[in-house]
Amino acid sequence: MSEQLRESLSAVMDGEADAFELRRVLDESRSDSKLRELWHRQHLVRDILRGDEIVHQLDLRARLLAEMEELSSQEGDEPIPEAQPKLDTTTKSPWLGRLAGIAVAATVALLVIVSSDYLIGGDEGAGFVGPGIAQSNPSGAPSAVLAPVMYDVATAADRQRTDALIIHHLQQNALNRPGGFSFVRWVGFDRKSAQNGRAPQAGLRSEGGVQAPTPSQSKDNKR
């Protein structure tokens, strides 16, 4: 990260950068996690100097980033794959730790699932994968999106497709696991509720102790 870029970031923080600098800093921040961390630290200093520092200790950012990642994976209207650099979701959340473990297993299972075209026949799978993938598939051929691809030669569209299928696998895993009410399952419930015309459930959480909507909360939502 050049000194010039760091100085531009400082000016952007203060709203004193020109349009070119602003665009440059924001362009760089998409792919440069160190630049984003510098932005974070500089705001920490600002908040401390202004007496507002407390929130930086509370891990809210990690929680939010984890939830945003989930939302992006879940929602078909989430946009433009190349505009989605991998954000750092360094977090203490035990839920994410479990997700990482499950994801490895899911990736292995995925190779089998993809090659057997298992998902093509299912409405839910096609519906889930469809909207996001259709936009990002350069060939525009729906069937081609399920062709196996080596990860290290994958395009952005291939990676997004893989991510979507992993999430689908996790969702199925969560739905079929007795007793567990995972975040993924809840989000699925939330989306179905929204499709059925009910208000989406509030209070999403990204950590392991995800709360199922209680009857009283449901009542509140209907008010």
Binding site: S29, R36, V55, Q57, M68, I80, P85, A202, L204, S206
Partner: protein, 196 residues
């Protein structure tokens, strides 16, 4: 202007840039958490409500038309989320809304600090001490530029008038002051780490 930074960040989020939302979040998280803590006293609940408010904002941003300033819009979402939270918990929200225009100038971290663990309080004190020590160790011209900016909220042009120097010099001094403080913080976090 700071609003231009927000506008550009919002525009990018609307085009699907998640990193831009992260920058917006970092910019406003303290204000939002402090605002919510006026309605919700429990720290964990405050964080839940803040998280919910940011997620609502993230989802609603595609429909944000920029008719009001972003932070005004965000504060409204936070206030409504906090009120809905209280209603859902059968607690009455405060009768009088917090004035959005006053939020910048009020410190409401006290309630959150009251529920800090001793370890968190120690870490906070250490970071605070490092930053204030770094500020004291700055050369006078850098210190003046940074404090006029951060404590008094002055623009570069106003600071240039006060310090009787070009705006470019002010910008450079503020940058160098921030670099100095940042290096001290990084050294505190990792005493073996190299500086920039």
């Amino acid at each position: 202007m700071a609003e231009d930074t927000d506008k550009e960040l919002v525009r990018r989020v609307q085009k699907g840039d998640q990193a831009a939302f992260d920058l917006l979040f970092v910019r406003y998280q303290s204000k939002i958490v402090n605002l919510i803590s006026r309605y919700v006293s429990d720290q964990e609940e405050t964080l839940d409500v803040a998280q919910e408010a940011f997620i609502k904002a993230y989802r609603a941003l595609p429909r944000f038309r920029g008719e009001s300033q972003f932070y005004t819009w965000l504060y409204r979402i936070a206030i409504n989320t906090a009120k809905n939270h209280l209603v859902a918990r059968s607690r009455r929200p405060p009768g009088v809304d917090v004035d959005v225009d006053e939020i910048e100038y009020r410190d409401d971290a006290t309630a959150l600090r009251d529920s800090e663990t001793p370890e968190a309080a120690l870490a906070r004190d250490q970071v605070q001490a490092t930053i204030h020590q770094a500020l004291n160790d700055l050369p006078e011209d850098l210190k003046s530029a940074l404090t006029l900016r951060e404590f008094d909220g002055l623009s570069y042009e106003q600071i240039a008038d006060i310090m009787e120097c070009p705006v470019g010099t002010v910008r450079s001094r503020i940058f160098r002051a921030r670099e100095f403080v940042d290096q001290r913080m990084q050294r505190m976090a990792d005493p073996g780490a190299d500086e920039h």
